[in-house]
């Protein structure tokens, strides 16, 4: 029924937004139609993302604590006091917070490297033609589709110092001489990186795999003729060709890791060691168990700004480096 679509369009066109939004009147008919179609999704985005960001930022300038939980808007405006409290490295809380930020960066960058290497390796393997490829793909997706809490709890068991299988294996192949503590002490952050990467790499794998499938065979043939070996083909064809999708993957993994709560929360148990107290976990514990929402919000804003800055630097670097021409 072609005329239904037309009617729908006409009815949408009747919605008068031009008066309300000045920029709207400058748009072409096509663009207006597009915006109308986007409107519901945009509204949801505002509700789910924008509103909390604005609200959180507002609260970070207010002294919201347990006394003002019911009527947060009555809390006094305290200017940057919350920020100076949480950002002062000389205080215990400030010191903890900065340490948590540092651990967050290690967590994000470490996870990114491990996830990307694992994901790329898996994608390259899947991209080969071999029997059982379908089964392999399904198996490789398991860590991602399996319920993450279950996965993390299993890892937690495997990382136990005495009874865990990881130490057992490392001991029996002679890589270590005595059991390592994975879940307490300074190693914790690396345990976190490994475990989180395990749950995330299939996503990277699938995205890179899709990217690999999009590289024309002829480029490899041309490279073969030009005398490139396996490594050269990877180095000069595959890797550069994956650049656009890699760019997205890198950004997503980095940001998602920075705000990942589940992995540290589940893996490290009720009393997470210092080294495992990444930003989001520390903020949560701090804000929710103490009802310190003003200061918690300030910490969140700082984390948010750090994440955004990293993303912006990253994009700037990418665009400077002619990111757009990585595609075909």
């Amino acid at each position: 029924m072609p005329h239904t679509t037309k009617q729908f369009r006409e009815r949408l066109a009747d919605v008068q937004l031009g008066d309300a939004l000045p920029f709207y009147s400058r748009l072409s008919e096509e663009q207006r139609f597009a915006y109308k179609l986007l409107a519901p999704a945009l509204a949801m985005m505002c509700l789910i993302h924008l509103l909390p960001i604005v609200w959180g930022t507002l609260i970070s300038f207010m002294g919201v604590d347990s006394s003002y939980v019911q009527e947060w808007y009555r809390a006094p405006f305290v200017g940057v006091e919350n920020y100076s409290y949480v950002l002062d490295p000389r205080t215990v809380v400030g010191g903890r917070f900065w340490f948590a930020i540092r651990q967050t960066v290690i967590f994000a960058v470490g996870s990114l490297v491990v996830t990307y290497v694992l994901g790329l390796t898996a994608a390259l393997i899947l991209n080969q033609k071999f029997t059982g490829r379908f089964v392999a793909r399904t198996l490789l997706l398991l860590p991602w589709v399996a319920p993450v809490v279950v996965t993390l709890l299993i890892w937690r068991m495997m990382f136990q110092q005495q009874s865990g299988i990881i130490n057992h294996v490392l001991l029996s192949i002679g890589l270590i001489n005595e059991p390592i503590y994975w879940l307490i002490g300074d190693n914790t952050i690396w345990t976190l990186v490994l475990t989180h990467s395990w749950t995330q790499f299939p996503l990277v794998m699938i995205m890179l795999y899709a990217g690999l499938q999009g590289i024309p065979d002829q480029l490899y043939e041309a490279a073969s003729i030009d005398g490139a070996g396996r490594w050269e083909k990877f180095r000069y064809i595959t890797f550069p060709q994956l650049k656009p999708v890699s760019a997205v993957v890198v950004l997503l993994v980095m940001l998602w890791t920075m705000i990942n709560f589940t992995a540290p929360f589940v893996l490290l148990g009720a009393q997470p060691p210092q080294a495992g107290q990444v930003g989001i976990l520390y903020i949560y514990e701090f804000a929710f168990s103490n009802y310190q929402f003003g200061r918690g919000a300030a910490m969140s804003v700082v984390l948010f700004l750090i994440a955004m800055t990293m993303a912006m630097i990253y994009y700037k670097y990418l665009f400077d480096d002619d990111f757009a021409e990585g595609d075909r």
Binding site: V69, Q161, G185, N290
Partner: protein
């Protein structure tokens, strides 16, 4: 003007939420009164409440709806409830949450005129329990059940190990631990993963110290006694080799399992380990004996107790019915039954005369352990101090075990925590 508008918007939102909630939960109350109640999830709870809501309704005509909630989500749910002034009428309170939640207006003063005539007689509760239930001179909850940490041992294992058991003081604990040569892997154990701070508090009290000054205005743990307590705690793992270092990673379930499985001969814990032991096939309470934990160098005793309370949310429309329900739950029989179900002790002393606590083991708890049992101060900001101390203690113990603990670290950790405490208080 502006804030007025904002408030009316919020009010409207609140009303809408209430209506929709009422729509969801309300149905079928008939002409009688209905109250909603919520408890922390535990095995056996459903059966218990099914049975007792029925009895209660027959008796009073008041219908009680109940739901359970996991510990993981409880704090956030409560926060949402308090912010939006919606939720159940009666709810279980964890003692450590009281200051913040009471300050946030989450709990009704149970001595207010609306309810005071219907709540249980508070004179039956121990003073320590009432201290916890009272915050800034108002009664925010009724003590429901509690559990002090006690020295618990499996007598047979202790004998096999060639030691006397029930160590009187720290020295005896160390001596026995080192002399122990039993079939089981471990002599004794205290979890460090779940709230290691509780162990520290215990050693601190035994060492003659206290967490805060009497008027709750200053930290008091960052002194000689505090350092001695934390040092002893750490030394139990490293210096004396009494506690096995691998167990630093253990959570409550691991400990219960180890005790129930006779992988260790003794522990300092609440009743959870006892229940876990009893539930195991072929095990009997007769196998166990209980006493107060060992005293410190100067003869000070002390142990930690945790307590759950029942409170009424101020937004309730049925305060009287809510109070009646709490009163019912605090009767000796129902109180004893729920305490037994969740592995705690009843706060109503008559509960010990019921079938649920008909064992001398429970007598020991009541007679020997309660007198030395203490808990955290009820002061606003305690949550932050507790969180900081938990981190500090966990850090020290974990570093001790991994060999990263250096001279002065203990002092520094306690000093840092004291800084936070000073700032918070």
């Amino acid at each position: 003007m502006r804030s007025h508008t904002r408030r009316s918007v919020l009010a409207t939102t609140g009303t809408v939420t209430t209506f929709s909630l009422a729509g969801c939960l309300g149905g079928g109350s008939g002409d009688g009164t209905t109250i909603e109640t919520r408890y922390m999830d535990a095995p056996g709870l459903e059966d218990y409440f099914e049975k007792h809501t029925e009895i209660f309704e027959e008796e009073t005509g008041i219908r009680v709806e109940y739901e359970t909630i996991g510990w993981g989500e409880a704090q956030e749910r409560l926060l949402t409830d308090i912010t939006s002034q919606t939720g159940p009428d009666v709810q279980e309170i964890a003692s450590t949450w009281i200051p913040e939640q009471a300050d946030a207006g989450g709990w009704m003063d149970l001595e207010s005129d609306e309810v005071v005539d219907h709540i249980p007689n508070t004179e039956m509760f121990e003073d320590g329990a009432m201290d916890v239930a009272t915050f800034q001179d108002s009664l925010v909850g009724i003590p429901w059940f509690w559990g002090p940490r006690a020295w618990q041992q499996i007598d047979e294992e202790i004998e096999t190990g060639g030691v006397d058991g029930h160590p009187d003081d720290w020295d005896a604990l160390v001596d026995q631990g080192q002399a122990y040569d039993g079939d089981t892997d471990l002599f004794a154990l205290m979890g460090a993963d779940f709230e290691p701070m509780r162990n520290f508090a215990m050693f601190l009290w035994q060492s003659g110290g206290q967490l805060l000054t009497d008027d709750n205005t200053e930290p008091a743990f960052h002194n000689e006694e505090g350092v001695r307590a934390l040092q002893f705690y750490a030394d139990l793992y490293t210096e004396y080799d009494v506690l096995s270092s691998e167990t630093v990673e253990w959570g409550a379930a691991d400990i219960n399992g180890a005790f129930a499985g006779r992988q260790m001969a003794s522990t300092v814990d609440a009743l959870g380990t006892v229940s876990a032991y009893e539930d195991e096939d072929g095990h009997s309470l007769d196998d166990l004996s209980i006493s107060a934990p060992p005293v410190g160098p100067d003869g000070d005793g002390g142990t930690f107790f945790g307590m759950e309370l029942l409170g009424i949310h101020p937004w309730t429309d049925e305060p009287e019915a809510a109070a009646q329900w709490i009163d019912y739950l605090l009767r000796a029989e129902p109180n004893a039954e729920i305490s037994s179900t969740v592995g705690f002790l009843p706060t109503n002393p008559d509960g010990f005369d019921t079938e649920y606590f008909d064992h001398e083991l429970y007598e020991s708890f009541n007679d020997e352990v309660f007198p030395v049992a203490r808990t955290y101060p009820q002061v606003l900001g305690w949550g932050e101090i507790e969180g900081e101390l938990n981190s500090a203690v966990a850090g020290v113990i974990q570093n001790a075990v991994t060999g990263d603990l250096e001279d002065g670290d203990i002092e520094d950790a306690l000093e840092d925590a004291a800084d936070v405490a000073r700032q918070t208080l």
